[in-house]
């Protein structure tokens, strides 16, 4: 496999900013309006939010990206076993900033803030997730890990089967 060229400044950074907040940054080689477009149009958003490696199927994606607008993402293998993620947009500044709530886990959900800063035709994206408690942030990490572990195991199995042929 050809190693993918990784520009140092383009790497994803993850930092636990405080006990309730995690911040992710990444630079994209495109002006902010395009990055914003990919985050705010459901037909584009659904193309990247659930990459194949996550092993989940996005069944529907509704987003009304304006202040007070709602979104709803439904995941699931079939119509019966589904899981929905939903919330509403608190702030929307075109090409600059989107803030939304995550309400699927009850009343005390996390709030996600994404900002887009354009510099020399590139866009620095900063995403912060602020959780109501430190336990909920720790748990958020745990869930993701278990899910991705499982996916990797499945992938390992599949690769094993393929190479054994």
């Amino acid at each position: 496999m050809v190693a993918k060229k990784v520009n140092e400044s383009q790497r994803t950074t993850v930092q636990r900013q405080s006990e309730r907040e995690v911040v992710v940054t990444r630079t994209f080689d495109a002006p902010a309006r395009l990055v914003f477009e990919a985050w705010s149009k459901p037909e584009l958003f659904k193309k990247w939010w659930v990459p194949r490696s996550m092993g989940m199927t996005l069944r529907s994606c509704e987003m009304d990206v304006r202040i007070g607008g709602k979104y709803r993402l439904v995941f699931g293998e079939d119509a019966v076993n589904t899981m929905a993620f939903f919330g509403s947009y608190l702030e929307v500044v075109p090409n600059q900033r989107i803030v939304w709530t995550n309400e699927e886990s009850g009343d005390a959900g996390s709030v996600t803030t994404v900002t887009f800063e354009e510099r020399d035709g590139k866009t620095l994206l900063v995403m912060s997730e602020l959780y109501p408690t430190k336990e909920s942030l720790d748990a958020a990490g745990t869930g993701a890990q278990e899910a991705s572990h499982e996916t990797f195991e499945q992938l390992d199995e599949l690769l094993g089967e393929l190479s054994a042929r």
């Binding site: 994209f28 395009l34 939010w49 995403m127 990490g141």
Partner: protein, 121 residues
């Protein structure tokens, strides 16, 4: 995370939130060093370095021992695995998403370019 105290977890993260402290840990992973060595290496005052080492020490990431006039620092009993693991899995999710996002953005750029070419004709 169940068997892991969250207050400890948070102290570790606070300790790791600073680039100099992460650098100090990298340095100590290669070998013990005195506060003076570390201050030189990171181009800092002794007082500044003492503060950083203090934060790392209270998170259990570093231990120090004073022999004579020299305070030697070494990796503490608390290893970083849990913290690293948390960050790694979080990063993994976002890396995968962002790679897919790169593709979507590239496509948008191509479309925009194509439209621009049409317009200028």
């Amino acid at each position: 995370m169940a068997q892991y105290s969250s207050s400890h977890f948070n102290a570790s993260f606070a300790a790791l939130a600073d680039a100099t402290r992460r650098g100090v840990l990298n340095q100590l992973a290669r070998g013990d060093a005195s506060i003076t060595d570390l201050a030189d290496k990171f181009d800092m005052t002794l007082t500044g370095m003492k503060k950083h080492v203090g934060v790392l020490e209270s998170a259990g990431l570093v231990t120090t021992e004073k022999v004579g006039r020299v305070r030697t620092c070494r990796m503490g009993p608390c290893r970083l695995e849990k913290e690293m693991e948390w960050i790694a899995r979080y990063r993994h999710t976002w890396d995968a998403r962002f790679e897919a996002l790169d593709d979507v953005i590239d496509e948008l750029k191509r479309q925009e370019k194509a439209r621009g070419r049409k317009k200028s004709k």
